[in-house]
Amino acid sequence: MIEPATETLSVVIEREIPFPPEKIWRALTQPHLIEEWLMKNDFKPVEDHRFNLRADWGAVDCQVLAVEPNKTLSYTWGAYGLESVVTWTLTPTSTGTHLRMEQSGFRPDQQQAYQGAKGGWPRFFGELERVLGELA
């Protein structure tokens, strides 16, 4: 049940995609393409640009944090009163691209401060489950 967070306190999805970073970058940054796989939007690949993602069930308020073409893209993701940060990382491989998406409830500065601290979150939820099991 707690599997999504075995590495960090965030949602991380990683996939090997058989297409080059440039092509994936277009799908991640061109509004008419974003709409096809994510939601309707007024995205622009410009730092500080504010945009919305819209669906029948509501809207997500976003702001671009970082843009490095074909390499990394991050934006805030505000929905249901909770602000998080979505970061895309594209790494070229011999067969295409390693695509990584991380959504974290911590701001990047908090993330960094934390990773600098001892231990980190690795296996955190595993440990937590163990302790909760002992409490039960």
């Binding site: 049940m1 967070a5 949602v11 994936i24 393409l33 096809e36 796989w37 701001r107 934390y114």
Partner: protein
């Protein structure tokens, strides 16, 4: 989705507080005294962090003599787990759609 995930992330936004919480999750119940030694900050600072964790519903306390013992509150972490579970499913589905789109873009 519950609003309370927001207060959990806020409560855990501070690195020292997060370290204290992690320590409780690893070691089980601890006294304020032990947590102060572990964290390397003053006892008033530790107490302040623990109070914030308590308000967020992440920890509960038990007094015994002059010592106050803190431990993780199992229900407290639930909104965070809900958040992670929800977005994990959401993004897996969107990745599938993204891959479909990339195939179509080729044609």
């Amino acid at each position: 989705m519950k609003l309370s995930a927001n207060s959990l992330f806020k409560a855990l936004g501070d690195p020292t507080r997060r370290a204290i919480f992690e320590q409780l999750s690893r070691r089980g119940e601890q006294t304020v005294h032990v947590l102060t030694e572990f964290s390397g900050v003053s006892q008033p600072a530790v107490s302040k962090h623990l109070a914030a964790l308590k308000i967020a519903g992440l920890v509960q306390l038990r007094r015994e003599g002059r010592e106050t013992h803190y431990r993780i509150r199992p229900d407290g972490i639930a909104p965070l787990v809900d958040w992670l579970t929800f977005y994990s499913a959401f993004w897996h589905e969107r990745f599938d759609r993204l891959e479909d789109l990339l195939k179509r873009m080729d044609q």
